[in-house]
């Protein structure tokens, strides 16, 4: 390999972080489109949205919020540990993050499967029998939490890569920008959930 791009550019951590922030910006806009749709229909079907939201399990939602917030904390701690050169602790915190993420997805799975077993899913007879506003509420619920779930999985894959990189000393105290960027991504996933949680579970 020549030194053309590898050595010169990849040391520029400011660039790497700037690129990541720009990417996160596009993610915010992606979900922004969804929030726009949500706002339009919430405004149009206020009563129905309230009724439908009562069916959601606020307990599981709260639990998942706590789990996701904790996972953001562990990612931040992992970065701090790496900054101080503690490879072992950094790895431990990343494994914790993975466990939290997995717990989140398991909860989500049970939540969704309960709904589906009650016949509440797009196109089902039970749902189609309900008024339009409730159909839309559940449609948005599945689409938005589903899209968020996909982001959680992408984040888990990214963190898995970082764990491998740390084991192989590709991410070190001197060069941990990949870990930092992954952490940024994970915080975004968390942040989106912080908006999804009240919109679906709390406003009633």
């Amino acid at each position: 390999m020549s030194n053309h791009s590898d050595t010169v550019h990849h040391k520029d951590n400011v660039s790497a972080k700037m690129g990541m922030w720009l990417f996160l910006f596009t993610e915010v806009l992606l979900f922004g489109g969804m929030f726009l749709v949500y706002a339009v229909y919430r405004y149009q079907y206020q009563d129905q949205f309230k009724l439908a939201a009562m069916e959601l399990n606020t307990g599981i939602g709260t639990l998942n919020t706590i789990i996701l917030l904790s996972s953001s904390l562990t990612v931040a701690l992992s970065i701090a540990a790496m900054q101080k050169g503690n490879k072992f602790l950094s790895l431990v915190f990343l494994y914790c993050t993975q466990i939290f993420a997995l717990m989140f997805m398991v909860n989500k799975f049970f939540e969704w499967s309960t709904k589906i077993s009650h016949g509440l899913f797009p196109g089902s007879k039970e749902l189609l029998a309900k008024p339009n506003g409730q159909i839309l509420f559940y449609g948005l619920y599945y689409v938005m939490t589903g899209l968020h779930g996909i982001h959680v999985i992408i984040g888990m894959i990214a963190i898995a890569f970082i764990i491998v990189f740390i084991h192989r000393d590709k991410v070190t105290q001197q060069d941990f920008i990949k870990l930092e960027n992954t952490g940024l991504y994970w915080h975004l996933v968390d942040l989106i959930w912080i908006f999804l949680f009240p919109l679906f579970y709390l406003i009633q």
């Binding site: 520029d12 910006f25 489109g33 339009v40 008024p131 159909i135 449609g139 899209l147």
Partner: protein, 540 residues
Amino acid sequence: MAESSASFYTKSTNKYSGILSWLLTKDHKRIGLMYMMAIISFFVVGIIIGLLMRLELISPGRTIMDAQTYNTLFTLHGVIMIFLFIIPGLPAIFGNFFLPIQIGAEDVAFPRLNLLSWYVYIIGAVLVLVSLFLPGGPIDTGWTFYIPYSVRSTTNVSMALFAAFVLGFSSILTGINFITTVHRMRAPGMGFFKMPLFVWATYATAWIQILATPVIAITIILVIIERSFGVGIFDPALGGDPILFQHMFWIYSHPAVYIMILPAMGVVSEIIPTFARRTIFGYKAIAMSSLAIAFVGYLVWAHHMFSSGMSDTARWIFSLLTFIVALPSGVKIFNWVATMYKGSIDPQPPFLWVMNFIFLFSIGGLTGLVLGSLATDVHLTDTYFVVAHFHYVMFGGTGTIFFAALHYWFPKMFGKMYNIRFSQIAVALYFIGFNMLYFPKFIMGYMGMPRRYYDYLPQFTTLQRISTVGSWILAGTIFFIFGYFIHALRKGKKATSNPWGGVTLEWHIPSPPPLENFVKLPEIKDDPYDFSQLKEMKDE
């Protein structure tokens, strides 16, 4: 020749040789050329589809294809020309190649990401092509994918939509790369207001790419979900709103119009000073007008929907905002003309192409005002008038500048000179063919000929025929252009480092450029268009 100044064709960024040294390259110049190969191939496909459509319309009734085939052809023509040619055309080819050179950098900020976005582009393009041949048949919704037909159509809509999603991803990655490059990679002394205007335009474009594209991405995802699961977000039977789809579609697709035209305006701002031998007039005004267009361009999307159902207040506000976009565009035109005033104009081919552009784009812009006014728009919505308008703006604007940029930078990119006489003939033929093809559509549209129709009333026959003959002249000219470029590649004279007498950084280095762009990092002391430095520059 010293090892360090070997051209980027002979020296590679990786250890491979032959085709792999290209496919795995991280060199922005090679990636630019790979984009060029791919984009021109799809451009040719789009042209051939356009020719077939025009041939069908040479006489009323069925001529060479049935109505369903016609529907798929105009859809594919739109999808290919917009997503595969005109959006990536200037930024991905010339932006990749010249943006780093013009700011004195040796590459973009993320070379690997740059290569990835090329592959993502190719994957998207392949998905478009695959969707043609899968059972179900090619998409027939029109490139706008309007609900409810895009949910009901039994053709491969989801596949084609997913391809557009993937192509958008490529566009976003390129945008992120360019913004970071401009912020972080400028050579010492290259302040923001010393950047060439093409860089400014590409920078503004990159912002639109990352700000607007995610909105179409989510819209596309929603349509695919709607087709697969019937969630009801856009389905009135379940309480959804089809007009909401149109809003979300145009929130991206109108700014996308500026993704297409801004880099073209940047190229014009490069070519005019070079051939007028004068500093650009109103440098800051042009740079800022790019950002102004990028900003105001966001707030005008609903002028595509004047007849689809909106309150009157919304309609006149969007109409007003639409007219406001004309201001920064006017600033540019004024400054270009003022640059030429009292210059010593050297009418070389790139300059002639720019003249072509100003004429065609002005017609496109002025007819845009007709469509931006509420009263006339209601009469002209969904007629050939709209088709003529956006072809004058997109093809007459960006398409023409694509050729201008090709004629301007070809000697630099390939180190070969093309036949000047041929290109002068091509400019003239292009002008004739273009106007023959599209101007009759203004008249037909005004007379009431609807767009996307496969058949027409007998009174339109003469105009339709003129238009079809124009399409032959135009396509013939374009193939002629590609022909003399290929000839130049094989047998052309060697180009010097500065054949046109330009002063931006790319003209300070050999043609074709060395792998590292600059053997020695340039010291930037002059303004970008200070022609007094021309005396000291070598032309070898």
